[in-house]
């Protein structure tokens, strides 16, 4: 590649570069194209509410499968083994939880966003202002891992490029795209990006399995046997090439041992207890606690993610919303089987990643792994790695745009349109949407450039933990308990959510070595676990506070609570929503 005129392109694989460039170019093109067709403010906020089931399911899945799903799960499975498998399972189960308890009623109530719902359910514009904060809190925590994905991928494509440059470039491109296109563009782009991501993860997995042995065979060699001689794996019924000899390179010193890696309660969940010097037997109860808290955070957190919920409103009716969710379950379920396979194969073939940190560590295993085919099949290794990079771009670009739209929507639609300038014209709001997009994109880039040393998947788990303690209790209780008052809802959401937020911040500051709490945590492993995975106490705390404060302020229950509950629960065929809107015509204007 030395013939190229630009110095920074030295060492860049042309195939990887070209395939990535096509993905980015396509995303930008679609953004610009849709900018011409989306004109009204409604287009920007919920895409005119008319997206078909297939498109919408692909778009939700496309948005949901973030850099954490595409790169982070594989990286984390490789780094810590079995315990990381809870992430993909709970991402999928959380969606089921959303379907069972929240999706239907919220859709019938017919508000644009969670703050809309908060205001409508309690007739309280003040509560809207409180609820909006969490769109931004959760959003920023969720953008950080996307930015790390971007920085890692660009640092992989351009080996000489500093991490922060990648973050800045990708952040700028997506921000521009959102400012110009709005949500209508993104529905289409995200739907296609789901299929790109599925393609980009399955094709390398199948090729690698055909060459290096199946999922089971690769896992089978992780049984603590000697690493010097290549092990012959038992034939697996699931493997496409059962006779393949599984190769395994010697592990480096920093890698966890086989037994701890392949079994439950491994390095991830025992870290705190180990640092405190407890024996493996003593640390097991701590691990169990960590596991349960992680499961609660991920399952409840999914149900409270602001940028996912808003998409239920783009279905034409409740039946379509339910069918969409079924398809989303299937689409994301299929996807989530594959990333751990790459983590498993990566442990056998790329153990050198254990020794590296930051953007050069295990988080890039998805990108790096296909390239080892280079030794056997020449250019095909590069092409497959290019496909993986294209998938990674699709992953962090689609999730970041989705987040940017909901955060920008919160700022432009709620803070500006409702609080600061209620009488602003649609043109002013459109302009504000663009300014807000640029401001939020800038902050995201700044935050993202700081988190190179944190694991992508771990950071996403943190965003889920905050959502689990704030929006999830709010939505769940508001939908199913008519005794809730605005004060109860606000107290529970604020205390639970902010407690989780502070815990996460503390853990990150410690992990980034800005604040040193090592000595304290070595003495208090239980506190460290409860701080790292707060869901097990913060979710009950939020719900408990909601009940207590609501009981104490029960005279404030909205007067027309029965009507509200009817709208939330009665079949749409009864047409109660129109009746309700007529009664509220004097209200906020929609």
């Amino acid at each position: 590649m030395n013939t190229l005129p630009l110095a920074f392109l030295n060492g860049v694989d042309p195939w990887i570069f070209a395939l990535s460039l096509i993905t980015v170019g396509f995303t930008i093109y679609m953004g610009f194209r849709s900018a011409k067709t989306s004109k009204t403010a409604g287009d920007f906020f919920v895409a005119g509410r008319s997206v078909s089931v297939g498109w919408n399911a692909s778009a939700i899945s496309g948005e949901y499968l973030s850099a954490a799903s595409f790169m982070g799960i594989a990286g984390m499975v490789m780094a810590v083994g079995y315990d990381a498998l809870w992430y993909p399972v709970c991402y999928a189960c959380g969606y089921l939880f959303l379907l069972l308890f929240i999706a239907g009623p919220l859709r019938r109530f017919g508000a644009y966003t969670i703050p809309d719902f908060a205001e409508g359910r309690y007739d309280s514009p003040v509560f809207r202002k409180i609820a909006v904060c969490f769109v931004l809190f959760i959003g920023f925590f969720y953008t950080m891992p996307q930015m790390k994905g971007a920085g890692t991928t660009l640092a992989y494509i351009f080996p000489g490029l500093p991490y922060w440059v990648g973050v800045a470039v990708v952040g700028a491109v997506i921000t521009l795209n959102v400012a110009l296109g709005g949500m209508k563009g993104i529905t289409l782009v995200q739907a296609m990006q789901y299929w790109l991501k599925l393609f980009a993860i399955t094709v390398p997995v199948f090729v690698l399995m055909a060459v290096f042995g199946g999922y089971g065979s690769n896992l089978a060699v992780n049984d603590g046997r000697l690493l010097t001689a290549p092990a012959i794996a038992a034939a697996s019924p699931a493997a496409p090439a059962p006779a393949t000899e599984v190769i395994r390179k010697p592990l480096v010193e920093k890698a966890p041992a086989d037994a701890a890696w392949v079994s439950p309660f491994g390095p991830l969940t025992t870290k705190a207890a180990k640092a405190a010097g407890l024996t493996p037997e003593q640390s097991k109860p701590y691990s169990l606690l960590y596991t349960y808290s992680l499961i609660i955070a991920l399952v409840c957190g999914t149900a409270g993610l602001p940028h996912i919920l808003v998409r239920f409103y783009t279905n034409p009716d409740g039946v379509a919303a339910k069918r969409t969710t079924m398809w989303v379950m299937i689409l994301i379920g299929i996807f989530y089987v594959f990333p751990p396979v790459l983590g498993v194969i990566g442990r056998n073939l790329l153990p050198e990643l254990y020794a590296a940190t930051g953007a050069k560590g295990t988080d890039k295993v998805v990108l790096e792994l296909p390239r080892i085919l280079h030794e056997h099949y020449g250019v095909w290794g590069s092409i497959l790695s290019g496909v993986a990079c294209a998938g990674a771009f699709a992953a962090f670009m689609s999730t970041f745009s989705g987040l940017l739209v909901s955060m920008t929507g919160a700022l432009a639609h709620d803070v500006y349109g409702r609080m600061l300038r209620p009488n602003s014209t649609p043109e002013q709001r459109m302009r504000m949407f663009k300014f807000a997009a640029i401001a939020i994109g800038g902050v995201s880039v700044l935050l993202g450039s700081q988190v190179e040393q944190l694991q992508i998947n771990f950071m996403v788990g943190q965003a889920f933990a905050i959502a689990a303690a704030s929006y999830f209790p709010l939505l769940f209780m508001s939908v199913w308990w008519r005794g809730m008052t605005m004060k109860g809802a606000a107290t529970g959401m604020l205390v639970g959510g902010i407690a989780a937020l502070l815990c996460m911040t503390l853990i990150n500051l410690n992990d980034l070595k800005i604040v040193d709490l090592k000595a304290f945590w070595a003495g208090h492993p239980l506190l460290r676990i409860l701080c790292e995975q707060p869901a097990i106490w913060s979710v009950p705390l939020a719900i408990g506070l909601m009940i207590i404060v609501s009981k104490a302020t029960s005279k404030d229950i909205p007067k027309d609570i029965r009507m509200k509950m009817l709208v939330l629960h009665a079949p749409e065929a009864l047409g109660l929503k129109n009746e309700y809107i007529q009664e509220h015509q004097a209200g906020a204007g929609h």
Binding site: F97, A220, V337, M563, L574
Partner: protein, 99 residues
Amino acid sequence: MPHSTDRADTIHSEAFLASLMRRQLRLSIACAAAFLVALLGLPLANYFAPALMATRVGGFTLSWLIVGVLFFPYVWLISGIFIKRSLKLEADEAEEVFK
């Protein structure tokens, strides 16, 4: 949507709302229990029966196979059943009012 006062009385009665919410919640809780028992039971199985969960099945440990592969079809099954039942429930509820 014009409807008679009788029908409106039914819809706006306390009994109708209570039965509506009770039936929906019962369905949701039944489905949630089905997956929560499995999801929350797995760490317990790992904790109390580590040897069993470490049994190798086609290279996988039993625990890895369940969490990494088999759980997803199980989730589809539950969501499929829920969607079918809840659409039927809604149709029934609407029919009761319009009968």
